[in-house]
């Protein structure tokens, strides 16, 4: 166990639901671990696999992708495409020795402040358990 290990997690949040959910967690004063760094995209559909690989290559210990619930994507159904890409991505990551828990896809609506805080909390705890990522193999890939 790496008791003192503090992971860095990059969170890609879609503007319309999950970023708004994070805003709501803020407005409601719901604390969550300081390990998350947020990056706003308009929609999870914009999230290129390269972004995730890049984040790991640059030293992220985890990547969190949050989008609108099924049926709620502001651009109709791009979250399904993002979900599909995430599945493929997990295989690529696993081939590079990056555990699937390090790259989580989830749905958080604009109303789900508590859910947002909970997801960040869970993810941080999971990655604390896993310890730092081994980035040798990925580094070459993302360049």
């Amino acid at each position: 166990m790496t008791g003192t290990f503090e992971p860095t997690i990059v969170g890609f949040l879609c503007n319309w639901c999950s970023y708004a959910g994070a805003d709501k967690a803020g407005a409601a004063g719901m604390p969550y671990p300081p390990n998350l760094r947020t990056i706003r995209v308009m929609c999870t559909g914009r999230i290129d696999a390269q972004f995730v690989l890049k984040a790991f290559a640059e030293g992220a210990d985890g990547v969190l992708i949050l989008g609108c619930h099924p049926g709620d994507c502001h651009y109709k159904e791009q979250n399904y495409r993002a979900l599909g890409r995430h599945r493929l991505l997990l295989r690529v990551l696993e081939q590079h020795g990056i555990e699937r828990q390090r790259c989580r896809f989830d749905f958080v609506s604009a109303a789900e402040a508590a859910e947002f805080a909970a997801v960040v909390g869970e993810m941080t705890a999971d990655i604390r358990q896993l310890g730092p990522v081994n980035l040798r193999a990925v580094g070459a890939d993302a360049q």
Partner: protein
């Protein structure tokens, strides 16, 4: 490049909403040492008038190339600070708002960690802003005219409201007459008004009135393609031939008399016939017959019959050579009001629909009781007898998990109406109502409700589970309703006729049109709303509105109210002379990198991408593009750039958020 960074304390000194947690003094050093940062300026309430004025003044004095504002959520104040930049003569897209309030100060408990996170987020914003490009929002001219699909109560009301406001309206109706379902009814609940009379004033206005906006009525037509968005839709309307000119025909009906070909009339339960050229419905408007290609021997057998043409007193009214056409129109908004249908009762086998001609649906009975129906409005069994006892079965297939799970809201009142009509047309007929859960809401329903159960010949029997009521047909053709009461043997009531109250269902219409409009349907098959409570007449697609029973089962009052509401939305969103601002944060294709692989085409939810047939290069229509970025991520050649969210900006942001 010179980046100017503003830090909003969100309050005074160290008591601000942000500075209470994140001391700007602790952030300053790290930010000032970033390459390209020209200065780090602290403000109190950046978003307030005073704060904006201060930033404006500072920007004007220092003229940075890029601006970073570390404050609250871009969902709240991105537009505010973009305006401030624009006022300072800086392109608004050269500003990045970094959220250190909702995402940092308010959620990170330990101030030291909050400072770390704020620095990381500001560093990321500063890195990405260097890659941001100046963008110009396009102002688009809009077309204030509207398309209304479906000419039932909802569509008619929408068309009338829009035209009354001076908007040009194209009213597309699949059938040959206007009015939707109710023109086929005799009387309507809750007050037993004459249905055609209720619609008469609306139809009169639309057909012959002097509304300020022109109404282009397209009968026997539907919409087969739509491109564009709010303010700029291009629609394709397909019209099938009627073979009788609506403009020329005077409605004398001589052609009908002379036509030698008769076919069963499905509208009247096939109990009467109609001619190959005939009125859709006697009294339907416009008062012009239709020549049915499926019946006329010129089309079915290639005959050279000219009976209708020969007797027609108006030259140019009979048009044998008319063919299907497709026309294009430009409109700014679309109201979809294509109505619904009733559930196919033959699916509910225990109720016997289809096994005996005197087991009829609520729709059939509207026709059986109509003055222009098969018996001239007299209530008779299929073999011409006056029925002595009629069973009215409520919830025939509704509130039934195996059939229609919901309550379709209008059937109970339809049943009361039918009971009333039966009583007035055939006084003394015994009416046995099998009810399950009576739904008669609103301030007007109560009279018919009382009437249905209080009359001297009315009996009400309650049943609980869908399977408790069964309709039996014996070998001799006798009808009986068996009712399991839970105590002992089922009660059996012999009847002459059974009327089944069929629930309203979406039918295939919404799903078929959904493909054309790109408006989703929900699990019930009705159109999905933007928000089922607060915006029920707005579809999830901007500029497309839904009204009437294609949204949910409802009565005529509801449909007409929705038609008016949908027209109201269209009127407030499209004002003639105003322009529509198009966000420039869209996608564009670099043709030299595009391989023409078409990966991007299907991922676009707005059909905004076309691949040129000759050059095999993709291009994005920036008007249709909403900037989701899915094609950007999907392009295997990296040929599509998502403005404001370019790969360069995103990669810089990812890198910087992780590296001190």
């Amino acid at each position: 490049m010179r980046v100017g960074v503003y830090f909003c304390r969100c309050g005074p000194g160290l008591d601000g909403q942000v500075s209470g947690k994140i001391d700007p003094g602790a952030v300053r050093g790290a930010v000032e040492s970033l390459p390209d940062v020209a200065y780090f300026e602290v403000v109190d309430f950046a978003c307030a008038d005073g704060g904006q004025a201060r930033i404006l003044e500072h920007l004007a004095a220092h003229r940075p190339d890029r601006v970073v504002i570390a404050a609250c959520s871009p969902r709240q104040h991105e537009d505010t600070f973009r305006r401030v930049c624009a006022q300072a003569g800086i392109n608004p897209y050269l500003m990045q708002l970094v959220n250190i309030r909702e995402h940092v100060a308010w959620v990170i408990e330990d101030p030291e960690r909050a400072v770390d996170k704020a620095i990381d987020q500001i560093r990321a914003g500063t890195a990405r802003v260097l890659h941001q490009e100046p963008l110009e929002a396009a102002e688009l001219d809009i077309c204030p005219d509207a398309l209304v699909i479906g000419a039932g109560p909802a569509g008619l009301k929408a068309a009338m409201t829009l035209a009354a406001a001076g908007r040009g309206v194209t009213l597309v109706e699949r059938g040959p007459i206007l009015g939707g379902l109710p023109v086929r009814f005799e009387e309507i609940f809750p007050t037993m008004e004459c249905a055609p009379c209720l619609l008469e004033p609306v139809l009169g206005e639309i057909l012959h009135g002097e509304l300020p906006g022109p109404i282009d009525i397209r009968l026997t037509s539907t919409v087969t393609a739509i491109k564009g968005f709010l303010g700029n839709f291009d629609v394709t309307i397909a019209t099938s031939p009627r073979h009788i000119s609506v403009d020329a025909c005077v409605g004398c009906g001589m052609c009908i008399e002379e036509c030698p070909t008769s076919v069963p009339n499905a509208l009247n339960l096939n109990r009467t016939t109609r001619k190959a050229v005939d009125f859709e419905l006697f009294g339907g408007l416009p008062n012009v017959p239709v020549l049915d290609e499926a019946a006329c021997t010129r089309f079915t057998e290639g005959s050279d019959c000219t009976a209708c043409l020969d007797c027609c007193p108006v030259p140019g009214a009979v048009l044998f050579d008319e063919v299907a056409t497709a026309t294009e129109k430009k409109v700014g908004a679309i109201v979809v009001a294509i109505g619904a249908t009733i559930y196919d009762l033959s699916q509910v086998t225990r109720l016997g629909y289809g096994r005996h001609p005197d087991i009829v649906s609520s729709w059939d009975v509207e026709r059986l009781l109509a003055a222009n129906g098969p018996t001239g409005g007299e209530l008779l069994t299929a073999d011409g007898r006056k029925p002595r006892t009629i069973a009215i079965v409520h919830c025939a297939g509704s509130l039934d998990a195996d059939h229609v799970p919901y309550c379709s809201a209008i059937c109970c009142q339809t049943a009361f109406k039918d009971a009333h009509l039966v009583e007035s047309k055939a006084p003394g007929t015994q009416i046995v109502s099998f009810t399950r859960t009576v739904v008669a809401p609103g301030k007007e329903a109560v009279d018919l409700y009382r009437h249905a159960f209080d009359g001297p010949h009315a009996v009400e029997r309650r049943y609980h589970h869908p399977g408790d009521v069964e309709v039996r047909v014996d070998a001799a053709g006798g009808l009986a309703v068996s009712h399991a009461t839970g105590a002992g043997e089922p009660e059996v009531t012999e009847v002459d006729m059974v009327l089944l109250l069929a629930p309203m269902v979406a039918g295939p219409g919404p799903r078929e049109l959904a493909g054309v409009l790109d408006v989703p349907t929900d699990a019930t098959g009705f159109f999905a709303e933007h928000n089922a409570r607060s915006d029920a007449t707005r579809s999830p697609v901007r500029g497309i509105f839904i009204a009437g029973t294609c949204q949910s089962p409802m009565d005529i009052q509801g449909a007409m109210t929705q038609g008016t509401a949908a027209a109201g939305h269209a009127l407030s969103e499209l004002v003639a002379g105003r322009t529509l601002r198009v966000d420039p944060a869209t996608a564009t294709v670099a043709p030299d990198r595009c391989s023409g692989c078409r990966t991007c085409v299907p991922v676009c939810p707005y059909q905004a991408i076309d691949v040129d047939g000759w050059t095999l290069k993709a291009s994005v229509n920036s008007v249709l593009c909403a900037g989701c970025g899915t094609c950007v991520a999907a392009c295997p050649s990296g040929a599509i750039a998502g403005h404001h969210f370019t790969d360069d900006a995103m990669h810089a942001e990812i890198e910087a958020v992780l590296h001190a």
